[in-house]
């Protein structure tokens, strides 16, 4: 029988990462969609880097940056007593950075695709920017937000390189399903590797089917 713990850690990591990313990405995306300064261009480029860089590069820098020998890692370690490398917390930070473009890109393009008049008309009707965001922007880009949530979730499930670099492979703490597969294959337990792989395969497929289904439903209710 396989150890189910890596699967639970994977799901926990994906859920927490997606939730944190959602909270951070909504205001970030509004800012990116509205700004056209050089600074926003730079931020956009930095956010997109995980799409291109090998995960090991990000993992390596995070390992250095978050480690107790670096200034940042030292502060967190000494002030809060939290060790970020080889811990679950470190995995969340790594996944956050790695999956950030998968949440921000769909949301930004959703906001950009809104006709500008939609928000302006809301302002002329006396609604504040906050009210407009929750009453108009968010409901209008719900498909994009949903796409972002699902891509982030699925992408975190499939993460391997960063997790290996900063998480190590500590059973019960940082050993996620994708790493477990690697472990089992290395130990020639193809049977177990097959079960992990099959479960990830099935979960991801079901999630994506659900998204496409919901997207269609949303599109239909708007046209009803």
């Amino acid at each position: 029988m396989i150890d189910l713990q890596p699967l639970f850690i994977t799901l926990k990591l994906a859920t927490i990462t997606t939730f944190v990313l959602l909270i951070v990405s909504l205001p970030l995306s509004v800012w990116l969609a509205n700004g056209n300064s050089r600074f926003t261009t730079l931020v956009q480029a930095v956010i997109s880097m995980p799409l291109i860089l090998p995960p090991t590069v990000i993992g390596f820098y995070l390992l250095i940056f978050l480690g107790p020998n670096h200034f940042f890692g030292q502060i967190i370690d000494q002030w809060f007593g939290i060790r970020l490398v080889f811990s679950f917390m470190g995995l969340v930070i790594g996944s956050f950075i790695y999956s950030l473009p998968f949440m921000v890109h769909p949301v930004v393009s959703g906001i950009n695709s809104l006709p500008p008049g939609l928000l302006e008309v809301s302002y002329t009707l006396g609604k504040s920017k906050w009210a407009t965001f929750f009453l108009v922007t968010l409901p209008c880009i719900r498909n994009s937000v949903l796409t972002g949530i699902v891509l982030t979730f699925a992408h975190t499930i499939g993460e391997f390189g960063i997790v290996m670099m900063i998480g190590g492979n500590i059973p019960g703490q940082t050993k996620v399903a994708s790493v477990a597969i690697f472990d089992e294959v290395e130990a020639m337990n193809y049977q177990n590797a097959n079960i992990y792989a099959g479960l990830l395969f099935g979960t991801t497929l079901i999630i994506l089917i659900l998204v496409y289904f919901l997207n269609k439903r949303f599109a239909q209710t708007t046209l009803k």
Partner: protein
């Protein structure tokens, strides 16, 4: 009265342009901003709404200063109590017609006035429909109801009828006029359609490349100078047909099609879709009894 005096440098599709606009919008009347596209009409409207910031200037609505760049006063759109109707109606796609209109009112709004608006704009049948299923004219009627639901001090219309076909346009012009007269709302209408401006506006401000080139009543602005006609009206050419020696021009005028005989010289530069002034100097009124 709303007094506006603003200036802004623009980088439009026709290169750099200096918009200078000074005008007094009379209370309770319809003022049209007329001019070719790219003249800065929409920019003026957006500055009035507070959606755009001019480089310098001052806007005062009654005794309320909306903008004064010298004294660093700027009221955001939310503080100006305006109604704005966009060219593309900008209805909220996720709300049905009723919710779109009620969005403007909020929870403590008086539904009696809204009901009257819905009645006047013939929206009763459409209340549960979503914008995606409405025709262009229906969308603009909803957008108009939404803009009016807050009882704005100033109604700003940015070419609201330009995408509609002739009949829908005419119908909505009537409705806008009826509502405008009923509530005495100070209205600024942006349009590049002479016939529309002539029908709807009390005052016309003609804008060309950012500068005001004429102001006055529609006939003062559009009427041909030095022409002392007894009767005149503005219409749109539908067809030009040659019949024997003369041409018969069909003109859409006051929701009617009238036929006018013209000579070759008259129609040489004329084509279907042109706006024309129909006038008569030697006007012979005909008389016939109808209450027999």
């Amino acid at each position: 009265m709303i007094s506006i005096n603003i200036s802004k440098r623009l980088n439009g599709s026709f290169g750099e342009m200096h918009l200078q606009f000074q005008c007094a919008v009379e209370h309770g009347l319809v003022t049209a901003l007329f001019g070719p596209s790219g003249a800065g009409k929409t920019t003026v409207l957006k500055i009035m709404a507070g959606l755009l910031m001019p480089d310098s200037g001052r806007i005062k609505c009654k005794d309320d200063v909306w903008l004064d760049t010298q004294r660093k006063v700027f009221k955001i759109p939310q503080q100006r109590n305006i109604g704005f109707v966009f060219q593309d109606s900008a209805l909220f796609p996720h709300m049905n017609v009723k919710k779109n209109i009620m969005y403007a009112v909020g929870r403590d709004g008086e539904s009696k006035d809204v009901d009257e608006l819905i009645e006047m704009l013939e929206l009763n049948e459409l209340l549960t429909m979503y914008p995606a299923n409405l025709s262009g004219g229906q969308k603009q009627r909803v957008a108009l109801a939404r803009a009016l639901a807050r009882k704005p001090d100033l109604l700003l219309l940015d070419e609201p009828l330009s995408s509609l076909d002739k009949l829908a346009r005419y119908h909505l012009q009537e409705q806008i006029l009826a509502i405008q007269r009923r509530y005495q709302i100070t209205t600024v209408l942006v349009s590049h359609d002479i016939a529309e401006v002539s029908r709807m506006a009390n005052q016309v401000v003609k804008l060309d490349a950012g500068t005001i080139t004429a102001t006055g009543t529609p006939l003062q602005v559009f009427g041909l100078p030095g022409m002392s006609a007894k009767f005149r009206a503005i219409g749109e050419v539908l067809t030009i047909d040659k019949e024997d020696m003369v041409y018969v021009v069909s003109v859409f005028l006051n929701n009617d099609i009238i036929k006018i005989v013209a000579l070759e010289d008259d129609v040489r530069d004329m084509k279907a879709g042109d706006t024309v002034l129909v006038s008569s100097k030697a006007f012979n009124p005909m008389i016939s009894v109808i209450n027999k």
